[in-house]
Amino acid sequence: MSGLTQETSNGGGFDTPGQEPSSHGSYKSYITGFLLSVILTVIPFWVVMSDTPMHLGAALTIIFVLGTGQILVHIYYFLHVDLRAEQGWQAMSLIFTGIILFVVLAGSIWVMYHLHTNMMPPHFINDAESVSARENARVAAPDGETTPETVGHSSHE
């Protein structure tokens, strides 16, 4: 079994010892990954922390696109996944996990948001309206009369 895999990898010419060090990275690749990560971290934080007027959709797009980009950077530069590592099983299991994650996340969000709007009984809708009314009152009066324990503490923090 192991002799077989050895043979395959040699036959494919993938796991030659000369290529081994690069699969674990060098200072250069780690620093490249680090600098890319810093850029991809700082921009979304800047979007949120600086009070630049920006369309909400644009801000969310920046956050999620750069977050996805940084995940890919980490996978490539830090986790060193490539299509050839471990005869391809590493990349295969990663892609499989990605598909399952997509199904779980997209499916949950899709189904639950539709359930939320389609199946909410009338008295819950009234509740929700009163909650949102309270929320609005809280936003309208930010000096904290409505929820003293929360706003009061966070203001002295």
């Binding site: 192991s2 200072y27 934080f45 949120v48 909400l56 999620f64 099983w89 994650l101 929360t150 923090e157």
Partner: protein, 222 residues
């Protein structure tokens, strides 16, 4: 074990050592050929564990996506999150990722002392991250943003707490690994352990990207 041998065991016993030595033979032969300890399958197995762990986090993210806007009259993300502190802890994890990478490079050059030093630096950054997280949790608890308050806070504490628990375990593992390196030096087994923790540590940093983007930054804007 041997005191209570059954007749059947006598039949099985000769097979046992044979199989084991067969595995050993392949392992040592492999390590010789590629001069690499992770051809044993341990690295692939650990990778598969990480992928299943990734699914756990994926489910927790899905829960947070579903209930993350249900505040039940309690505090909303913009009321309770301190984004500058999150930026600080993000950089703690990012620094610890690159210092762990330096430890791996030094280990491959058989520099035990430098390996240990970089691992210690990694542990310090990991501990700093945990300290910031504990500080945040204590702060949230003190202002009443407890898990019992709303569905949003329940899933927030569960998701971020699970990640923090992983970092805690990783930090303990790091300390144990330092003791093993001190006792045995850079052996094949220790090299394999360092590489496994490397995957684990970088994986936790990767999960944190999802946490800060989705749980903190996007939620504060919404």
């Amino acid at each position: 074990m041997s005191a209570t041998t059954m007749p059947g065991d006598h039949v099985d016993m000769p097979n046992g050592p044979e199989v084991v030595s067969g595995i050993d033979f392949h392992v040592s032969g492999h390590a010789h050929d590629a001069d690499h300890s992770h051809d044993t399958g341990t690295m692939l197995g650990f990778w598969l564990y990480l992928m299943s762990d990734c699914l756990i986090f994926g489910v927790l993210f899905a829960v947070h996506a579903v209930v993350g806007q249900n505040f039940a009259g309690g505090p909303a993300p913009a009321d309770i999150f301190e984004i500058d502190m999150i930026l600080l802890s993000t950089f703690m994890l990012l620094f610890s990722s690159i210092t762990y990478g330096f430890a791996v490079i030094n280990m491959q050059q058989r520099k035990l002392r430098n390996t240990a030093l970089w691992l210690i630096v990694t542990g310090v950054f990991g501990a700093a991250f945990l300290g910031l997280e504990v500080r945040e949790f204590l702060h949230l608890w003190s202002i009443g943003a407890v898990p019992m308050e709303s569905a949003f806070l329940s899933s927030f504490w569960l998701l971020v707490g699970t990640h923090g628990l992983h970092v805690t375990v990783g930090t303990i593992w790091l300390c144990v690994l330092l003791v093993q390196l001190y006792m045995h030096g850079i052996t094949d087994a220790n090299e394999r352990r360092v590489m496994c923790l490397s995957l684990f540590w970088h994986f936790l940093d990767l999960i944190w990207i999802g946490v800060f983007s989705f749980v903190y930054l996007a939620a504060v804007l919404l």
